[in-house]
Symmetry: D4
Subunit: 155 residues, 8 copies
């Protein structure tokens, strides 16, 4: 994880809070809501973008409407070897549907979050995962219910 370079003050925080929630509001409205001059707002946003604090602007698409009914969290054990977490991690990331891969400390080596459209799709993806050299064991927990899934920061 890169070290923190940017100093962020309260005004920045209020801007980030807003645009994280809605980045389509016209700048005028935002400036009014946050009670800062529009030029300041514009300047600060550009700076936050330049420093990488704001990484991008994305439409949030509902997975269910795109047919992604299958959500799984897979606990993975791999075989130890030189720089294994990089080699194996790279291959896991290459599997379609895999949207998060964490290299963890604990009983397991990786925790993987995966989306699939249906069981066959999931089985195919799990097969790709199992085929990765040096993956010893996978333990799948199927999500019966998504109680919450919102990666936005709580600012």
């Amino acid at each position: 994880m890169r070290s923190r370079k940017t100093v962020i003050d309260e005004t920045d925080l209020s801007i980030l809070r807003f645009v994280q929630d809605n980045c389509h509001a016209p700048l005028d409205n935002v400036a009014k809501r946050l009670d800062i001059p529009k030029s300041t707002l514009h300047y600060r946003i550009k700076r936050l973008e330049k420093d990488g604090v704001i990484e991008g602007y994305h439409a949030k698409v509902n997975p269910v409407d795109l047919g992604y009914d299958y959500v799984a969290i897979i606990l993975v054990r791999a075989k130890y070897g030189p720089r294994y977490h990089e080699r194996v991690g790279k291959k896991i990331v290459a599997i379609p549907g895999v949207w998060a891969v964490y290299y963890v400390l604990g009983e397991y080596d990786f925790i993987v979050l995966l989306r699939a459209t249906n069981r066959d799709d999931y089985m195919h993806k799990l097969e790709l995962l199992s085929n990765i050299t040096d993956i010893e064991r996978t333990n799948t927990q199927i999500a019966a219910k998504i109680i919450k899934e919102d990666p936005r920061l709580q600012l």
Copy 2:
């Protein structure tokens, strides 16, 4: 999970693909890139918004710049009881820093993704989690490395 109501065709997919990646590009550019009339683009986007396929537009904020150095995946076991997954799930969601909660089938009952700024912050949050009535056991896997974390769909 709500049932799928909207029918989505190839043109919709190309639009979603684009705006999921960048929702700040001017409509003119998008229309040109996707080779569809601007009015069609505008109409389809409004429909996708109305149907809930597009749920919102968000700036992606880098967690590290906001001090969130601590990422944990917590495997939770709860005590069984009537509608326990709803009662307990609701309380887990209320904990600051918790951004995903899945009710799963398998050895565990819930899988929780959590962000914290430092160890004290994490300990405080873990304490809140452990204090929830009916949580029996938590098994924390600290993420030593985030190999990937991108919830955008692969369209």
Copy 3:
């Protein structure tokens, strides 16, 4: 398990082998195939029915055509108590979709085979299971694929 009372010879075996595979064939054909007089066949079958060796005649219905897409094997731990395996076993059996319940020796107390039509149906049934007093923990293994499922004896 009741003790074995009936003595079964080779002829009985050949009859059972046949009717286990197909109990709709006319008796004439069966007698010819097995090379035994029709009256003997008739007599022996009646005796096997009377002794409970043949418990019934059933049409085998394809679960998939009836919408049963969800197959799960649930490993169950219960809280110990007087005659707990009977009390708890009885309640598990009462859950719709449960078609096999074994009280086992080993890490677990019961192994349960369950059919459901879809995830919601499964969740509802799992909820009924979890609500049984004295069930401590359930560990679900979803069947990704039924490689074989044929309870007929290999005679």
Copy 4:
């Protein structure tokens, strides 16, 4: 699992319910009980057979009378490899006494249901299972009591 092709209505359901329970009753009786014309009954049954909804007609033989006293549920872990679940699954199925094999998602890879006549017979079969290349570990749960075992659908 093949996709569902046949549309099944209430009348079909009532027929299936009946013949699943007893497929030796004369058609006249069935027609009377279900209050449908005999010809309709005959037609529908033929159609259900042709579509594979009814897969066959079998006599149910009591395992205990055939000496099958030993019932085991074996949890199996296999070594990962290309299409391993097919290769290994095929070999497990070939073992006498194995009547169900499920490829599962979870801690284990396969769950196997096995019948044997006595301990020596079981040991021999377990040996065959352990000898399968790529089976790493088996964890046997002996059924001390069969509380229920009835694969018929609950229509």
Copy 5:
């Protein structure tokens, strides 16, 4: 375990070795075999008995001939409480068929060796065990084969 009080020399060892293997041989033969005077032999044996080094003389009865076909090793977890290992240990010992009970350090609290005549007998005994207040969980390993079972010391 009481502290060792008796000093045992080589001659004692040779005597113990002999009588552990066969305590029905006439003293004359033993004395000759071990090349020690009969009076010395007699004296030493009396001393070993008096000091409790020799605890008794027992005929070894073959369990199989007495119908004990069922051998189980049960790993037990108990609920903690004041002097729990004594209270619980005492109750385990009271169960018929239990011939060894060890209070252990490790994942489990007690390891119990049990003999039973058949499955019903075992189930009854396991029921008594499960009914002991404060026993939380039992994990049974059925002995498929006794490769060795000889408590005599290797002197």
Copy 6:
């Protein structure tokens, strides 16, 4: 386990009960106690010995007096292979101090009971055990207290 050949009646049982407890009592006393003629007693005992029901007569030596302070129960997992339980079982038996080896069904493959004089002696024996080809893992439970250890049958 060899099949049971000998028929044992109540009188035999009373004799076995007695000699299992004390095989040094003069035959006269035993005959009087059991209220059977001395000749009958003598005959029956010879028959029980000939049939292998009585396998021998042994002095019971106190392990503590011989310096055996260390008692361990070792749960063993072995690598699967053809007739592995025989090959591995044989090697385990060859280790000094090992007095019981059970091939079990369950999470483990073998359960081994071992005596040692002190920690170094135990470590040496454990090393021999770990060195056996195809032993994958051993899980030792040290007996903190022997609550009971008496292999005599409860007749």
Copy 7:
């Protein structure tokens, strides 16, 4: 853990390195070895003491000579409750022989390092540990060999 207040430079490091290894050498020798004026050395040491970087000066006593033959690492699970890690942690610390207690993230709640003189002493201490309200389970790993045990920092 208190935040770091003191700035430590290379000279401080060389001093700490020396006195951590041997704090009985006369200051003259130390000053000569480290090639710094004695007055500077004296000043810096006083400052390091005042800031708490040097917490004390201790003779290292060999545990074996004091009869401490028994070393155990105990993995502890406790029952969750408000501020449970403080309440339970405090009670664990009060047990004689306990010299380290870590509140950990993972499968266990606490890891405890314990010294005892012999098995009875250990059992007594383990009993005190088990008796602590809210301790659910302890899993003891006896150290068969101390390969290394030196808490001095590697400066």
Copy 8:
């Protein structure tokens, strides 16, 4: 562990108790406090040093001030082989930050205590550990809180 050679009496104990707590007090003060002649004190201390009862005199340095924020307890499983615990133990000890390594009996083979300055430092050390040939699996428990860490004996 070397056998105990030195006989230690009450006076020795009182001396060890004192110098273990503070070895910088002038001998005069110690002698006065313990009410023994200074010459006796000097003689006894020299003897305790010569016999290795006192192994050294060390300044206790606060790890936090040296930047060691990361404390981990790692449970290690290794692959069995001839004298594996020595070979593997030696390599673990060579890793910087490792200050204790215990070869244990139980589920695990080694328990390792490790200090690191930050996550990257820890990851690097964990990598070195994982790279050791024959280490199969490591299970890390991060210390969220050091409740106690004081290796001094309780005399």
